[in-house]
């Protein structure tokens, strides 16, 4: 690898104060977009999300089909397909949380954050731009995953009565909208923890703790007498709220959505305070 000799610096006149090159929110969002697609990890994470989802969807759909062949019941096609397609969320939520946290912890670990904040010194705007890009990325990954999952599940249910029924538009579409909302919330939680902790390992540990380990605790404790309140409190964990949103019905849905919104607002808010007040 050879490096060509640098050229002489052009002797230019000082730039005029009213430069055409100025910061704007749109431009900072564009910059964050370039940063996201020019790294390997978001692509790997998206591919993993899709592969894992399709794998689990296949297993669930085959299991449901076998169950049906023994005991044929005229089920709700939309609900059955949604069940097969949204079951993987328990795992993929964790993946997007990690992606969200790595988006910022990668900048802290490499020193990139100093370039980011000298180019766009308004820190809240920088965080907002990153969040917008992350939301766009997560929605895209979620939609692609859902469409592929629905196609796969429909193929696996071929020959049965189970099929997507757009006659019931809400039943056919809403589960996937809610899936996207849950994944977006998970990704933003990861981003918030990333800003708060600055370390990839720390943010991932906290994300795994809250999404995977904390929900297990009440399942164990709730068996003991007088501990029912633990199970009640566990409903407000993000993973359980996400489940309620995607697979629940009635009040579960909006309560789940609200719980996720509160989590995101709190964690991202703390992350913003940390970003604003600490030295970069």
């Amino acid at each position: 690898m050879t490096i060509t000799a640098p050229q002489q610096a052009p002797a230019a006149a000082p730039a005029t104060p009213g430069s055409a090159f100025r910061l704007s929110l749109g431009r900072v969002i564009r910059s964050e977009g370039i940063k996201l697609v020019s790294l390997r990890s978001p692509w790997v994470s998206a591919a993993l999300t899709i592969v894992i989802s399709l794998g689990i969807t296949t297993l669930v759909a085959i299991a449901m089909r076998n169950f049906l062949s023994e005991m044929p019941v005229a089920g709700d096609g939309n609900a059955m397909i949604a069940q097969a397609v949204t079951t993987p969320l328990a795992f993929t939520a964790l993946l997007v949380t990690i992606t969200g946290s790595m988006l910022i912890t990668g900048e802290y670990s490499t020193g990139m954050i100093r370039s980011t904040l000298t180019a766009a010194p308004d820190r809240l705007r920088s965080l907002f731009a990153k969040a917008i890009v992350l939301v766009g990325y997560t929605v895209l990954v979620s939609v692609v995953t859902s469409v592929l999952g629905i196609t796969l599940a429909s193929a696996l249910f071929a020959g049965t009565d189970i099929a997507l029924d757009f006659g019931d538009l809400a039943g056919a579409v809403l589960p996937y909208v809610y899936s996207a909302v849950y994944l977006v919330a998970a990704a933003l939680l990861g981003l918030g923890f990333g800003y708060l902790l600055r370390s990839g390992a720390g943010a991932i540990a906290v994300a795994v703790g809250i999404l995977f380990i904390l929900p297990i605790v009440p399942q164990v404790l709730a068996m003991a007498p007088g501990m029912e309140w633990v199970a009640e409190a566990a409903r407000y964990l993000p993973s359980n709220a996400g489940n309620a949103l995607v697979q629940g019905s009635g009040d579960d849905v909006w309560q789940g959505a609200l719980t996720l919104a509160v989590w995101v607002a709190a964690v991202l808010g703390l992350g913003a305070i940390a970003l604003k007040s600490r030295d970069a």
Binding site: I3, A9, A11, A12, I34, T110, S115, T118
Partner: protein, 303 residues
């Protein structure tokens, strides 16, 4: 124009920068000189708003850096070569930086050419050598064609050709009427590059003067004389403003008079002279004299 007013930064009990006030003027290269831990980098980070001063303030062109509508065209910064994501290519790094200000892609390719890293522009920055990383950092700093350059140890890790290029680059930049502040602990480099020096020690501004003034004020110029008859010569030279010091069996160090005067006096007294050498103080001596007591990490004197 960079102005620091009573800049102070404390980390707990440790004071990194203490009440530093100075101005960096356009049209010349200002060197930021000081031993390790003197507070050079911290001061530079406060100027561009990465670190918040405990008290005091810094402005660039009359306002805080962070409030500029167009920071990259106002100040180009190289704080350390590692301010780049290791997983991203040099070109994509610059593209992302340029995008924040709507700077066109043609300028990205231009700075890659200027800094001589166009051939490795599509390689991941994580695989770059220290010198290539430094060039990428400089490419990033000049991306917005800024009126002010702040470079922290820009020649660190560069080969001699690169060192010379940086020197010529910042000199031409300043000659075009722009402001350049660069830090270094390499005295020899500063002597060749800077016009004006701000010397920091233990977070305090120890000196703020031109290179020539600093050398004159902090070093003494003297004349080394060798003669077979030092006692007689010392007597012949004795006068109110001249001090003569015996430095060897046949050697004297004379200060306060030029070599020609010493030679004339010796000739008039009929004393032979075997050597007559004017010794001028270097920037390095001035620097050691200035920062001698303020070095934070002092090496043990070799026996």
């Amino acid at each position: 124009m960079i102005v620091a007013e009573n800049l102070t930064k404390r980390y707990g009990a440790r004071t990194a920068v203490s009440d530093a006030s100075f101005a960096v003027r356009p049209g010349m290269v200002t060197g930021f000189l000081g031993p390790n831990g003197a507070g050079k980098s911290t001061t530079m980070r406060m100027i561009v708003g990465l670190d918040r001063p405990t008290s005091g303030r810094a402005t660039v062109n009359g306002r805080a850096y962070a409030t500029s509508p167009s920071p990259l065209t106002e100040v180009g910064t190289l704080l350390d070569a590692k301010a780049v994501h290791t997983g991203r290519s040099a070109r994509n790094h610059l593209r992302a930086m340029a995008a924040t200000h709507g700077i066109p892609l043609s300028r990205v390719d231009e700075v890659l050419e200027i800094t001589g890293i166009a051939s490795v522009a599509r390689k991941r920055a994580g695989g770059f050598s220290l010198g290539m990383g430094q060039r990428l950092g400089i490419a990033s700093a000049i991306l917005g064609d800024p009126t002010t350059l702040i470079l922290d140890e820009p020649v660190n890790g560069l080969d001699p050709e690169g060192v010379r290029w940086v020197r010529d680059f910042v000199r031409s930049y300043a000659a075009a009427g722009r402001t350049v502040l660069l830090s270094s602990h390499l005295m020899s480099e500063m002597a060749l590059t800077a016009d004006h020096l701000i010397v920091l020690g233990r977070g305090r501004v120890l000196a703020d003067a031109s290179v020539a003034e600093l050398v004159a004020a902090w070093t003494k110029e003297d004349v080394a004389v060798e003669t077979p008859n030092p006692d007689a010569l010392a007597a012949a030279l004795a006068s109110g403003t001249v001090t003569v010091e015996r430095t060897g069996a046949n050697a004297l160090a004379v200060s306060g008079a030029p070599a020609a005067w010493i030679g004339d006096r010796a000739a008039a007294a009929g004393i032979a002279i075997h050597q007559l050498t004017t010794r001028t103080g270097s920037l390095e001596e001035a620097y050691m004299a200035l920062t001698g007591d303020s070095v934070e990490y002092k090496t043990k004197e070799l026996a």
